[in-house]
Every structure is written in structure tokens, then in C-alpha cells.
């Protein structure tokens, strides 16, 4: 979700892969087409506000630790319409990506400070402090940790006065499909919290769609 601090966004680079380790558990709610909705707290010294946010997963490649989708911010004060951005995610599977970001102005200290905000991270913390979690097997962990980085605006131009320079530390719960996240951008208010729940579009259960690229 875009924020108001004006700062040029850095292009993303795909991190190199480490060998070994297994993929995170396949979770039916972390699949293409799945929608989530909730809020992001945009705290500042002047005021405390929350923007409504909708997320839709558009692509998921667990093998390469890749996820992507769109994020729609609904009541952005400076925008006339909801602002949609496209984001790409890195899944911390210790194979393709570790808990250490290694880019986007995030140092290991920044990483640890954000990851420890998630209660589900505490059993992993000591090992992550040593090697970024490289030696951990997360294949049966009930939570999936990710970084989501907004790459571009979908429905507004870059001159909209909003920035997508930062990225999110994200924690997804495999049991109920809820997502919590913290936005990190050295130039924005710290620890802006994202809270999302998977939606079922008025149904009494979840529905699953699919596409396949050839």
C-alpha cells in the first residue's frame, strides 16, 4: 500500500538461492485468486488513521519462493480513487530466501526488529540471529514468513504524490489464512501495521479458482 512520504523507490533484485532445505507447506489459502481484506494503520505524530486494504494473490510459485498480487488502498486521503499497486513477494523458505533481507535499506538488525514483532517468530529467533534462518526447516511451520515489495502503481501514475519505496514484513497463518505485516521504510513512520483476513466473498466457505500459464 502506498504511503505519503516522497522517496524514490529502489528497483527490486532477486536474491540468489541457497541450496538444500524444503519448500514451505502448501496452504490452500495462499493460492492464486485468493482475496484478503483488512486495514493498515498509518500512524504519524499528527494523527492516527487506518486505511482499508484489499489484497489479491495473482501468482504463486513456491518452488522459487515467489508470490505476487495487487494491493488496493481504499480511503487514501490524497487520492480520488482507490490506489492499486502491484507487489512481488519473497517467501522465507530458507532455500530461496532467508530472514535477512539484504537490500531495500534493511540491515539484519532491522529485519530482526520487525520479525520479532510476530509472536510466531519467537521459537525461531535465536537461530535466525545466527544465520538468518538458513539452517531452519520451515516446511512444517504453521506460519509462512514473507516480504512483500510493491513494484508499481496499477491505476495511478508515479506523479500521484504517493510512494511505494518501502516493503512489508509479512506473516501468514496457515491455519486461518490471516495475514499480519509491518511496513518498513526508513523514511516513513515505523511499524505501520497491516492486518488482513482471507475473504470468501459472501460464501459459507472458501472457493478456489485457477489459471495455468503455458
Amino acid at each position: 500500500m502506498p504511503v505519503r512520504v516522497v522517496e524514490a523507490s529502489a528497483p527490486s533484485q532477486v536474491s540468489g538461492a541457497n541450496s538444500g532445505q524444503t519448500s514451505p507447506p502448501a496452504c490452500t489459502l495462499l493460492s492464486v485468486g485468493q482475496a484478503f481484506s483488512g486495514t493498515q494503520n498509518v500512524c504519524s505524530l499528527q494523527k492516527d488513521e487506518a486505511w482499508r486494504v484489499n489484497v489479491r494473490i495473482q501468482g504463486c510459485d513456491l518452488e522459487h519462493g515467489y508470490l505476487c498480487g495487487t494491493m488496493e488502498a481504499l480511503n487514501v486521503p490524497m487520492a480520488d480513487t482507490p490506489v492499486v499497486t502491484f507487489w512481488e513477494g519473497e517467501i522465507v523458505d530458507t532455500k530461496n530466501y532467508t530472514f535477512f533481507t539484504g537490500k531495500w535499506e534493511a540491515k539484519p538488525d532491522d529485519d530482526i526488529r520487525h520479525w520479532t514483532k510476530f509472536p510466531s517468530f519467537s521459537p525461531l529467533a535465536s537461530q535466525v540471529a545466527v544465520d538468518g534462518g538458513k539452517s531452519l526447516d520451515l516446511s512444517n511451520h504453521p506460519y509462512i514468513f514473507m516480504r512483500w515489495k510493491e513494484q508499481n502503481f496499477v491505476n495511478v501514475g508515479t506523479d500521484c504524490g504517493l510512494t511505494i519505496a518501502g516493503f512489508y514484513y509479512v506473516c501468514f497463518s496457515c491455519s486461518d489464512g490471516s495475514i499480519s505485516g509491518f511496513y518498513y521504510d526508513p523514511n516513513s513512520s515505523p511499524f505501520q501495521k497491516l492486518e488482513l483476513k482471507s475473504t470468501n466473498e459472501g460464501r459459507s466457505g472458501f472457493s478456489f479458482s485457477s489459471y495455468e500459464l503455458q
Partner: protein, 569 residues
Amino acid sequence: MPASASISASSSHHRASPDLLVRLGSTDPEVKLRALREVKNQIIGNRTKKLSFLKLGAVPAVAAALDAAQSELLVQSAAALGSFACGFDAGVRAVLDAGAFPNLISLLSYPDEKVVDAGARSLRMIYQSKLAPKYDFLQVENMEFLLSLLSSENETVTGLGASIIIHSCQTDIEQNALCHAGVLKKLINLLEGSLSQRDASLESLATIMKDNPEAASKFVSESGRALSSVIDLTKDRYPRTRMLACRCLIVMRNTSPCHLQDIGIKTKLVYLLLELLDDPGQVGEEASFVFSSLIAQKEDLQKLAFKANALDKLHNQLLNYSSHPRRFQGILLVLADLCSNLESCRSRFLSLKALKLVADALTNDNADVRAAACICLRSVSRSIKDLSAGHFTNEVIVIPLVRLLHDPCTSVQVAALGAIGNIVVDFTTHKSTFVKCGGLKLLVQLSKSMDPTMRLKALWALKNLTFLADNTCKEGILSELTTPLLSSLICDPEASVQVQALALVRNLVDGCINSVEYAFAENDIILDAIGRQLQSASKAEIGIQGMYVLSNIASGNEFHKDAVHQVGL
């Protein structure tokens, strides 16, 4: 009038003289010899003349001279027949129809070296054509004869041996027979021969090792210097030799990935082939296909090619060679391979504005170019980021692609369906450009095709089109497709088609709760068909997609849940 005089002069110049035919049949050896020379000299490199003599029935008359006893007559007859066959399939057919083939073979055992050379030269011309008879290596005497050719001191004869292998070795049984007979050893020796022997050997080795790991390891173990000789030839001064050496190494690597894993040789091959692409002639043309075989389905090599600026080079080639169909096709296929896995390549491809050039290629006169352009688009459109940004759903691409669904050539239609299948995943709920230009109608039409591949690909595209579509779009899809057709496709004779039909229904009943009603149209015939398929599912994927449909329906209201219970699984 000067103009007409000039035309008549020119036409008489191209006409073969009936008098020459009479002289070819002369009993006087001198007259016959002069006639043979005259035919040979007139037809060399002249397609029109060849055709003219062919129509006149000159080939049987020329072939008849192979019965002669005089060496000079044999040499001239063989040379003329070779000329008829050179790069001209109608000529090859005429030479074969005249029964000259066994006579040319028997010239190879003639004591006079000139006759042997002429016979071998003529047979090499024939073996360059697909029409040449397949040589049966499995017969012992034929294999012995082939080995004798490859052992010959005469360069043309060894070249003929290689040509026979390149043309006739097609199965792994034949490849193994050649290996066991000791052909690899002979070919390895030829790697140190003359230019033509080296080239012929490289091409034959590639033919014998293709997809045959046993042959590839036999080649490596045959002689310590075999592999290094081929690697050395990648530095040869002649571009064609370099290209053939690269091809031989790539065939070996693709056959047995354990060979040539060294990053150095991989990088070298990438740079060598990029350099060979600059060759303005046939070598440059072939280099693109060899390059494609190097990087296809190999992400590590695609990365190396990306680092070597392959995309920029290929983009320039697209600009320069759009009027050379085969080269243009080759470049498009390399671009397709490069962009098949790596997002970095797709991103560079788009930033170079190569998409417009590929879109233009969709309307090329040549069917192979049109198919290659579709394959390239299919690769580039694997980028979810670019699909999400709607880069492919503009009219410049969609309109010509949809037109290709009418293409007279099936391979173009199938390739277009592949690209369309990706492009319709545009993540916007409108999907209007594609539907407006008649794409939906054509996909539905092709889903009724007699060709199972066509049905599969058409349904695949329809399934992707239905993904996250809004209700208006879904209604449009179902009213075009119709409920009875969809339920019959769920029960298609091909399991792969059934899977796509079920996945389509899965997407159709996804989304807002009203969508579930699509499964209940026309007396529940879709639901009934799904129930039948699930009870007799012939493969797991049918069960998986069918269960997803039922699960999506069961997430509706109480009525929907009851209906799933009624399916009675």
C-alpha cells in the same frame, strides 16, 4: 519491336533443345559425350533449365549413359545427374525414377578414380534431399559398404558416407548399430581431415549421438582426443565448422547432461553462437536454431546468455532480418527460449520495445514465422507482472493473434492458442478487448474441433479467460459455449480435455455466490456430468479438478450444499 525480340530471345535461351535429346541417345560415343557435356553445362545452377530438360525427358537419356563402358561417358553422365539433383527435389525424383541410383552406387567400385569421384559427388547431391532412399544400416553388407566409404582415401567418398549417415540414421537402433560397427572411430579420424571431411564428420557425429546417451558416452570413451578435437574445432577459422562443432557439443550435452558441465565451455558456447549469428549467410541462419537448442529449458544457460547481452543482439537481428523467413523464425525461437523462464529477460525484451516487432511478425507471409512469433509471445507473456500491467491486452497484439485462430496452418493455430491462453489471464475483470474482437467465439468454435490438441488448447484458454472474470464476462462465455457443449466436453474422450473442462467449471462457479448457479443450468446437466466423471476418473487430475468444482459449489448456500450431497459420491 525490340522488346518482343528480347523476350523471344530470352525464352528460346531457356528452352531445352529436342535435338539434344536425340544426340543423347546417339550410338556414337563422341556425339553422346558432347551432348552430356552440353546438358551438364546448361543446367548448372539454372533451375529453369533443369525443369525444362526434365519436361523434355532428358534425365532417363542421361541416366542411360551409365551403362556405357567408357569412363568419360560415365563421368559426364554422373556429373549431369548430380547437377539435376542439386538443390532441386524434382530433379532428385527424376534421377531416382530413371533407376540411376543403383548404377551410381556401382560406380563407387569402379577402378577409375575419376569415375568413383563423379559417382560419389552425384550421390552426395541426392543425399542432400529428403527424397533420397533411406539406407538400411542394419544389413551387414550395407554396413560394410558404409565403412568402406568412410575409410576411403577419396574425400568425396568419405563425405558421401557421412551424408548417408546424416540422411538415414533416424532410430536409436540405427545409431547403436553404427556405434557397434566402429563408425564413431572412423568419424573421429575424419575430424582431422580436410575441411569438407571435418564438417561432414561433425554433422554425422551429431546425428549418431542425438538423444542417445549410450552413443554419446561411447564417443567420449572411444578416444581421449575425440571430445577435445570437437572443442578445438569451435575455434576453427571457418564459421561453418565452428557452428557444426558447437552443434555437435550441444547435441552431446543435451543427450548426456553429465558432459560439458564446466561453466567455461557453457559460456564459450554462448559467446561463440552469438558471434556466429552475425554471419550474413546460412551459417548465421543455422546458428539461431543451434543457439535455441543450447538454451531451451536451461535456466543456467539462459542466465549466461542474458549476461552476454543476447537480447540486445537478437533485437537488432529482428530489425535487420524481417525479410529472411528462416532466419527471422530462428531469432524469434531463440527469443522465446530466452524469455521462457527468466523475468529479467522478459523485462529487457519489453524495454527494448521488441514486442511491437513480434506483433508485426504475427502477420508475416510465412507460416513458420507466424508460429514462431506466437511461441515468442507465449514465453514473454509468462510474466505475471506484465500480465497484471495489461501489456498484452492491447489491440496491436490481440487482433492479429485472434486472426491466427483462422490460420490455414494447424501449427500456427495451435501456437496462437498457446499465446492466447496466457494473454487472457489479464487479471482485470473486463477482458473486453479479447471478447470484442471475436476471440471468445473462435475459442468456442475450436473447442469443438476434431483435433484433440486444438480442443485442449482452446479449453485451456477459455479456463484462463474465466479466471476471476466478472459475471457479465462469465455469462458471455457460457452463452457462447452453451451448457450442453460444456457438459459434453467434461465427458470428452481425451482425459486432458476433461481436466480443462472441469477447471473451467471450477472458475465459472468461483467468485460471487450467484456464480454457483451456473452449475445448475439446464436441469443440472453440468453437475451430472461432473458426478459421472468423478465416479470413473481415469487420472488423478480429473478427480482433483472435479473435487474443486464440488467444493466451490458447496461453499454456496444450503441448496448448493444439498446438491453436492445428491451427487452421491
